[in-house]
């Protein structure tokens, strides 16, 4: 792989200029943890590199919780999102299939996608529930993002992925091509180390070839047992980088407001006539698993679970979907 190298001080200076013409969001670590923030001159030093996922899923940048989709305005300022982990980059693939489909293209999503440059961050290390590798997703990007970034030995290394990324990289005058394989070898070593950590942490976890059949074969008793701790709060779907269900709400003037919704909320499927296929908690709970691991994988090319582990972290009932899969695999 070919890399461009920039000294860290030069890179920070470049970002300082970039924020004058772009809205730059980057993964930042502070006393509240790690999450995206709008970059200002004063928080450039807080940007974290090569750490696994920020708290917020990438989808939030493309699918706001609530937006007016009839008279909403498109942003004129281009945007750069820096430090996106590959689990979130992979999640964007299914969102693209949904929102950029040729028959019904969502112009708001399309505009945001086109005006955003994505700089993915290679994960050097893992968090407690990271399991991307179990679903055949690497902890570093090779497609869909525009560039990938790594920070090693005081140097920023950029890996160009898309044409848009190439144009962007060319605008960094302080960059130079890596002269030899030293940086590529060092980064590859980090990739291998992260993959080894993922493999060790998720030993025995069924992979994406098995998850669909496991959920389809699981009996009612399994879903009743595990849903007993579910309070239908919808945290798992809200935080999921691929969950995208929404509701259209009418406002005067034939305007429509699109609001994020979740199949885990009671009444999600209820019709005016009273039919509600997801009335029972255990059926509703099962629906999310079937949707992610059986139905969407039959319908879409892209995966509906990228192994980010956020749903496990977010669940107030301490429901761990990996433990459920381990149990299903054993039975």
């Amino acid at each position: 792989m070919n890399y461009l190298i920039i000294d860290k001080e030069e890179w920070d200076r470049f970002l300082g200029n970039l924020i004058l013409s772009h809205n730059v969001f980057a993964s930042v670590t502070d006393e509240f943890g790690q999450d995206y923030e709008l970059i200002r001159p004063e928080n450039i030093p807080d940007i974290c590199y090569n750490k696994p996922k920020p708290a917020t899923p990438l989808k939030s940048f493309f699918l706001p919780v609530k937006e007016n989709v009839t008279s909403g305005k498109h942003s004129d300022k281009p945007r750069v999102i820096l430090g996106v982990p590959n689990c979130d980059i992979e999640a964007l693939k299914i969102l693209d299939e949904f929102y950029l489909d040729k028959e019904f293209t969502d112009i708001f999503y399309k505009n945001r996608r086109e005006s955003t440059l994505l700089i993915s961050s290679d994960c050097f290390g893992i968090q407690e529930h990271c399991h991307c590798l179990s679903y055949n997703i690497k902890p570093y990007s090779t497609d869909t993002a525009d560039l990938a970034i790594a920070y090693l030995n005081g140097k920023i290394a950029l890996r160009v992925i898309s044409g848009k990324g190439e144009d962007f990289a060319r605008s960094i005058t302080a960059s130079r091509p890596a002269g030899d394989n030293t940086i590529a070898s060092a980064i590859e070593k980090e990739h291998n180390a992260t993959e080894a950590l993922l493999a060790a942490a998720n030993k025995g976890l069924p992979d994406s070839k098995k998850t669909g059949k496991l959920v389809m074969d699981a009996g009612e008793d399994v879903w009743k047992k595990h849903s007993a701790r579910c309070v239908s709060c919808g945290a798992c779907t809200t935080i999921c980088p691929t969950c995208t269900c929404f509701l259209l709400i009418d406002k005067p003037g034939f305007e429509k407001v699109k609001q994020l919704d979740a199949c885990q909320y009671p009444g999600f499927e209820r019709t005016a006539g009273g039919e509600d296929g997801l009335f029972e908690l255990s059926v509703r709970f099962r629906n999310r698993y079937m949707c992610k691991y059986a139905w969407k994988s039959a319908k879409f090319r892209s995966t509906a679970c990228t192994g980010c582990g956020r749903c496990i972290e977010a669940c107030i009932g301490k429901i761990n979907k990996n433990e459920i899969f381990m149990e299903l695999a054993k039975s």
Binding site: I107, E114, D250, G273
Partner: protein, 274 residues
């Protein structure tokens, strides 16, 4: 960018007439402000300004391009508002959405249609479409059931259908009154008295979930194959675009992959009648 078509934006449509069909059902005659056409069996999202929208299959002929008829049963919040609208009001329509009836694949065949309640709305549109191509069909039989004679909609339709060559129409009610001189009992009972060449036939079922279920079971018992049966499925369709997720039924988005499915496509999907 902003000039691209916005999939969420409704077409304003003027309500020119409201027809009372039964105590609970009205037909709204609309003139869209933009060009609008549909294939029979496709649906639209019909909205009341600032209140809400809901999915309906137009009940008018797809050949009529200048106006559109939508038959609505008063069932919930949005339909309550619709029933209070008067001619001159504006409604919003989005669509048409989904896969309608594959009328061309019915050519050369006998078509059996089993309908119940407000399910006659999409069926009426289908009947108009079939009438338009009747030279290419062998026979069309409608079996329709409603709760009581006053719940029976499109009353003049039945005499008209029976006067069309190749068309037969039968009605039944669950509970008759003194004036009712037609069949009494559930809609599937009408299937006992029809003559149809099942091998060279297709069956269309549209009605409330309970009728869809037992109607399909009865039609299978008659000897129809899974792929000969067309079901018009009803779900809570919010966007109509295959995106919002509300109408998912197994791997299908009813709004985009349906609402018309063959039984063969759905038979392995759990809970399809719920």
């Amino acid at each position: 960018m902003v000039h691209e078509r916005n999939i969420y934006k409704p077409i304003k449509s003027k309500l020119i007439e409201v027809i009372d069909e039964s105590p609970l059902i009205k037909t709204f005659v609309l003139i869209p402000e933009e060009e609008f056409s549909f294939r029979t069996g496709q649906f639209i999202e019909l909205s009341v300004d600032g209140i809400g929208e809901a999915p309906f299959t137009p009940s008018s002929s797809p050949q009529v391009k200048d106006k559109l008829e939508v038959t609505v049963m008063r069932t919930g919040y949005v339909t309550e508002y619709m029933h209070n609208l008067k001619p001159g009001a504006y409604m919003g329509i989005r669509g048409p959405y989904g896969r309608g009836y594959p009328v061309e694949s019915f050519f050369g065949k006998e078509v059996l249609i089993l309908g119940g309640g407000c399910g006659l709305a999409p069926i009426r549109s289908l009947l108009y479409a079939l009438e338009h191509v009747k030279d290419k069909l062998e026979k069309v039989i409608l079996c329709y059931g409603s709760k009581t004679p006053s719940d029976c909609i499109y009353k003049p339709l039945f005499n008209r259908l029976n006067s069309i060559e190749k068309f037969e129409a039968y009605r039944t009610v669950d509970k008759a009154d003194e004036e009712w001189n037609e069949s009494v009992g559930v809609a599937t009972k009408l299937l006992d008295k029809i003559k149809i060449d099942i091998k060279n036939s297709v069956a269309v079922v549209c009605g409330p979930p309970i009728m869809m279920k037992f109607g399909t079971i009865r039609i299978l018992e008659m000897g129809y194959k899974d792929e000969q049966i067309y079901l018009s499925m009803e779900k809570n369709m919010s966007c109509g675009l295959g995106k919002c997720g509300h109408c998912m039924m197994g791997e299908f988005f009813v709004c985009k992959d349906g609402p018309v499915f063959t039984y063969n496509e759905l038979k392995n999907t759990p809970d399809i009648w719920k």
